[in-house]
């Protein structure tokens, strides 16, 4: 199952990774639009700018691995293979949503596609993956937790990292450091560095450029191999940036002047597109065709979701599984 040569990503693979990232970006733009039209309710947390982490890291998982995410989980959900129609329908609260409209944007769950859940508490994914790792002791399966920089200051992180290390669990912890915990710059509320904290537990840790999808794939491949080999938990800090606010109530006024523009220069989708055309010699028309296909898929899913039925409030619900 494993692709061994990652640095030399084949053109077809790179084009497929680009397709996935592009789809996530336009899906997030659509979420913005659906929200402004009152069709997507409550709030939503977009991952625009962080697509290379979601697509790159999940593209090298095995079929029996399991993943836990945060409320900023649209990209991961789609990268793991969640059906686009069921995804959009869930965001719109429809019966045909992946969770029947019960979970919404922040709490997507898709066990069939390896997703143990997106959690509304910033450190929740860390625990879910740690438990999965406990179940995977002595197997070839690996559990992966994705979480933001904000999670490292919540009790889940140190407790689970220690727990995982002392039992040598096959877990890969991927911190998507986008520099802000909600509206607050990470460095103003975090003592020391994330890497130093992890290393203090004796957990193998490395950093990766989260805007470079090939770098993310290579780093994740190494992390998964190490965990699969029984070498215990691995930590990966992906340096990234979100182009959207934390949530729908966030205008992003906290960003330093010029910061946004500098990160925009390193847009992972732009970088991947440049690699396709200049390094891999893919024709502009081919890329445009991929982009058009994504737009058509999204339009179809969007139309299907807006026409889908809402769940029936009269349906009887049991709080327990019988």
């Amino acid at each position: 199952m494993r692709e061994l040569v990652i640095d030399d990503v084949a053109t077809d693979t790179m084009l497929d990774l680009y397709r996935q990232m592009f789809l996530i970006r336009i899906v997030e733009d659509a979420c913005q639009d659906l929200y402004s039209k009152g069709l997507l309710h409550g709030t939503t947390h977009l991952c625009s700018g962080q697509e290379a982490v979601a697509v790159g890291a999940n593209s090298v998982l095995g079929p029996h691995d399991r993943v836990a995410c945060t409320y900023r989980g649209h990209g991961h959900s789609l990268a793991l293979g969640m059906d686009l129609n069921a995804f959009i329908a869930e965001l719109l609260g429809r019966q045909s949503g992946i969770c029947g409209g019960r979970a919404g944007s922040m709490n997507l769950i898709d066990l069939e596609h390896r997703l143990l859940g997106c959690y509304g508490i910033v450190g929740g994914s860390v625990a879910a993956a740690t438990g999965a790792g406990l179940a995977f002791r002595g197997t070839q399966r690996v559990a992966v937790a994705y979480f933001g920089d904000g999670a490292v200051n919540q009790a889940y992180f140190p407790e689970c990292l220690n727990f995982s290390k002392v039992f040598g669990l096959p877990v890969v912890y991927v911190c998507e450091n986008n520099l802000y915990g909600e509206f607050t710059p990470m460095d103003t509320v975090t003592a020391g560095t994330i890497m130093d904290r992890v290393r203090a537990y004796g957990v193998a840790a490395s950093q990766v450029d989260g805007m470079d999808i090939r770098a993310v794939r290579t780093a994740m491949q190494g992390a998964l191999e190490s965990a699969r080999n029984g070498d215990g938990p691995v930590f990966l800090e992906a340096l990234t940036y979100r182009f959207a606010g934390h949530s729908k109530s966030d205008p992003g006024r906290y960003r330093a002047a010029g910061e946004f523009e500098r990160w925009r220069e390193r847009d992972p989708i732009r970088l991947a597109r440049e690699a396709l055309t200049s390094e891999l010699g893919v024709a502009e028309d081919t890329i445009k065709q991929v982009e058009t296909e994504c737009a058509v898929r999204l339009a179809g899913a969007r139309e299907a979701a807006t026409e889908a039925l809402f769940p029936d409030p009269g349906e009887s619900v049991s709080e327990f599984k019988a």
Partner: protein, 325 residues
């Protein structure tokens, strides 16, 4: 087989570990040390690699139990004292209890959290609480609190086999109680009439059940016939069994070892009143006071419900005579 309460729990865990390789136990001091209350003695030797000593990290314990349950294990997590449950609460409340509903039935979370609870051991305010009310308003979790070795054995086995998260509470003043353990199967969610009576219904759980039985014996000699119901499962409570009893006795007293305000006794009173208002003579509760559990022996004894305080409360409420007006 005669067993004490802790031996019944140990046997239930041992039998489940033997019956199902997916069962795993983990918690603080439960392995090599055999548990703070010697409940799990010998289990690690017998089931190596499936009885784990963990760091003192209650949130990691509950979270790991949740994640492991989603991936095929049936974890039994020990949170040493119920008083430590707030540290584990996020995963229990926001992850394990919600998953079945939130995932639209993709999977449930078959995990058990065992805790020592209750006052009377001179453990002071932060090792003596009975944290039932903290979880009563959490949909998706079951709360079990047995009062006899037989129930402890049967209900713990049922809890491990349950497809949903179960909080299993063990009262520290019950551990040395001895009784016959038959191994008879029981279902979570069923209360039992443990003494029949005609004049009032006494409802309680955990250590208050033997108090109610003792009180009922004392009341009998005063000419009052009390029916005693052992709830066994606090959440969801078996309201029909209580309603049936109250329709016969016309009086309901709920005894809760726990603070009065927001306690589970209030919930029982409300639920039964909704069904029985027209036929009830009176309904009331005996609880602990709205302050923390005290340490000093005299204070703690006075604080707790007892056979004597139950008798006094019944006598006071029935001072007008037991004959229906």
């Amino acid at each position: 087989m005669q067993l004490d309460f802790r031996g019944a729990i140990r046997k239930a865990l041992d039998d489940e570990l033997t019956a199902d390789p997916a069962v795993i136990l983990f918690g603080e001091d439960i392995g090599a040390a055999g548990g703070a209350f010697a409940v799990t003695t010998g289990l690690q030797e017998k089931h190596p690699n499936r009885v784990l000593d963990t760091p003192i990290s209650e949130l990691a314990l509950s979270g790991a139990g949740f994640g492991a349950a989603l991936c095929g294990l049936r974890p039994v997590v020990e949170i040493m004292f119920g008083d430590f449950l707030p540290l584990a609460m996020d995963s229990l409340l926001n992850q394990a209890s919600k998953f079945w509903y939130m995932s639209n039935g993709q999977a449930s979370v078959p995990m058990v959290v065992r805790c020592v609870v209750g006052a009377g051991g001179r453990f002071g305010p932060i090792h003596s609480q009975t944290p039932i009310a903290w979880f009563m308003s959490v949909p998706g979790i079951k709360i079990v609190g047995p009062s006899t070795p037989a129930d402890a054995y049967s209900l713990l086995r049922a809890a491990v086999r349950d497809e949903n998260p179960v909080l299993f509470l063990e009262h520290k003043r019950l551990y040395t109680v001895k009784g016959e353990v038959s191994g008879e199967q029981q279902s979570i969610g069923e209360a039992a009439i443990v003494r029949e009576g005609a004049d009032l219904t006494l409802v309680s759980a955990l250590r208050a059940v033997p108090d109610c039985l003792e009180a009922a014996a004392m009341l009998e000699s005063a000419g009052i016939s009390a029916e005693v119901i052992d709830l066994k499962t606090l959440r969801p409570p078996d309201i029909p069994t209580i309603v049936k009893s109250v329709k016969k006795t016309h009086r309901l007293m709920v005894v809760e070892e726990g603070p009065r305000t927001g306690g589970w006794a209030g919930e029982i009173l409300a639920a039964v009143t909704e069904e029985c208002l027209g036929v009830m003579q009176s309904a009331w509760r005996l609880t602990t006071a709205d302050h923390p559990v005290p340490y000093s022996p005299g204070l703690e004894d006075a604080f707790l419900p007892s056979a004597t305080s139950i008798v006094a409360s019944v006598t006071q409420h029935m001072a007008g005579g037991k004959v229906d007006a």
